[in-house]
């Protein structure tokens, strides 16, 4: 593959993987069964990224199932969401380059909801930080947090270098986190991720004291702990499948930490909110069904975005959820989300149930934020 016999895209991809392997002390390359690529929004890639992808697409073809992270816009409904034709033109070129390489152009941070879901213990190359955390922790897969080019290199070769979280000795918990707080809602779990992440950074935690957690709560927790701590792997006793040695160091999270996190993430008054956005990470089918039920017969008085993967939207169409949601005035934002779309200057305040959404709303877009449950957000938006 390194000789160029399989083409330029394979040669340069192999060069990336072998070099990273040498730098980080990998003994060998291993097969991966799934890839998820970040660096899809033209807003982040620019002409540099577009040029790189177009060059690789000349002779590159993926060798394993590969999906994409969210793009900078809804690939079908971008006009309705206020995206300029110039931006749309470039974003479409980015997606076309991926398509030529055989990448499944479903753009989502929840690949595990749309059929990119390997089995326990498999080695994969994923990029999106929340999905990497979910894969390593909830699904028991093995991946480092890849950048865009290295994930694409894995897709075009079917390989990755064996270092970091591919090795069991690097997957042992480093700190016990005893949770002594009530965990009930999605924002509770977002606040838990925020609190733990801020305290332990990117150490691997063994979390105790959480009695149960839904898929949606774990999804939100992963996004939050990866954003605020850089965590790519955690263990939650009784809930996640992996096993680990018990570390000596331990910390506590009490109700005051959870309440404090929520207070930190709420700095907007209700009249400062002009965008309500949910689906960071993208909503599950169950969440879409619940949102449809809550919006049934109501009208939203603010701009409201429902961020989902397109295949989930298609099922929602089939079930009539989409029609109910759109009748209320809320808009679907498929393939994208409020964290990657170019929104700076368009809104002042973001209300969301996502702790990660608050981080990007504040940092990238200078929004004030409100952090609450979907139920509370919809009650407020339809009042």
């Amino acid at each position: 593959m390194l000789s160029g016999k399989h083409g330029n895209a394979v040669k340069s991809s192999m060069n990336i993987l072998v070099s990273l392997g040498e730098i980080f002390g990998a003994k060998r390359l291993i097969d991966v069964s799934s890839v998820q690529i970040a660096g899809v929004s033209y807003h982040n890639l620019g002409d540099a990224g577009l040029g790189y992808l177009s060059d690789l697409a000349k002779d590159g073809k993926v060798r394993v199932l590969t999906t994409l992270n969210p793009a900078g816009m809804d690939m079908e409904n971008w006009k309705n969401l206020g995206i300029s034709p110039e931006f749309a033109d470039k974003q479409i070129k980015v997606i076309d380059a991926f398509k030529r390489m055989g990448v499944i152009t479903t753009c989502t941070c929840t690949p595990y909801f749309v059929g990119n879901i390997p089995h326990f213990g498999e080695h994969i190359s994923w990029s999106e930080s929340s999905a990497v955390c979910y894969a390593n922790s909830v699904l028991g897969l093995k991946t480092n947090r890849e950048g865009g080019p290295s994930a694409l290199a894995s897709a075009l070769t079917g390989k990755t270098a064996e270092f970091g979280l591919h090795l069991d000795e690097n997957r042992q918990a480093q700190v016990v986190v005893n949770v002594k707080a009530k965990m009930q809602t999605v924002p509770d779990f977002g606040a838990l991720g925020y609190s733990i992440g801020k305290k332990i950074g990117n150490k691997i935690p063994l979390i105790r004291g959480v009695e149960k957690a839904s898929v949606e709560q774990l999804k939100s927790f992963c996004a939050s702990i990866a954003t605020y701590g850089g965590t790519a792997l955690f263990y939650m006793e009784g809930i996640t499948p992996g096993t680990t040695k018990t570390p000596e160091e331990s910390i506590e999270i009490v109700q005051g930490n959870i309440d404090g996190a929520k207070k930190d993430l709420n700095d907007a008054a209700d009249d400062e909110i002009d965008l309500v956005a949910i689906g960071c990470p993208h909503l599950s089918l169950k969440e879409v069904a619940e949102v449809a039920k809550m919006l049934d017969g109501k009208k939203v008085k603010k701009e409201m975005w429902i961020c989902v993967a397109r295949p989930i939207k298609k099922i929602a169409d089939q079930m009539g959820y989409s029609q109910t949601i759109e009748k209320s005035g809320a808009k679907f934002a498929c393939d994208t989300c409020m964290a990657v779309a170019p929104l700076k200057g368009r809104f002042k305040g973001l209300a969301t149930d996502s702790a990660k959404g608050c981080f990007y709303g504040r940092g990238k877009n200078a929004f004030k934020t409100k952090f609450a449950t979907i139920e509370e957000l919809i009650r407020e938006a339809t009042k």
Binding site: S12, N15, I16, S19, L20, I23, A38, G39, N44, L45, G46, D47, A48, G49, G51, Y52, S127, G147, G148, P149, S150
Partner: protein
């Protein structure tokens, strides 16, 4: 004086050193069209990295920075070579895909801006003249 480090991306380069005590984020921190450092408050703010042997401790910031290095190479604004104290994945991948000679594990405190350098990245060596 010859400094010995480790090859990240092979190749040879000669040129003038531009040394930064702080890390560099190529995405957002360097303008690809001009090669100028634009990060506010950065020690190299306003300086051009183009054609220089750029010396800094390590990369930082978004992984999109790898693509920025690639774009700079295409536009002719890239540094001639990169020397890091300790490489991380963003600059490593950027140097590899842009084919910019790069070495790390170099004691960068021994290099000053304006020094004439001769680098053999394949051997992992940097000669300071």
């Amino acid at each position: 004086m010859i400094l010995k480090g480790r090859r990240v991306m092979g190749g040879k380069a000669k040129g003038e050193a531009l040394v930064s005590a702080d890390g560099i984020s190529f995405y957002g921190g360097v303008e690809p069209e001009t090669g100028n450092v634009v990060e506010k408050g950065h020690p190299l703010e306003g300086k051009s990295v183009t054609g220089k042997i750029l010396v800094f401790p390590t990369g930082k910031g978004s992984t999109v920075g790898s693509y920025t290095l690639y774009q700079m190479k295409k536009l002719g604004t890239a540094p001639a070579a990169i020397i890091n104290g300790e490489i991380e994945t963003i600059v490593a991948v950027g140097a590899i895909i842009a084919e910019i000679p790069c070495v790390d594990k170099i004691d960068i405190a021994r290099i000053k801006t304006g020094d004439k350098l001769s680098m053999d990245a394949d051997a992992g060596t940097v000669e300071v003249k």
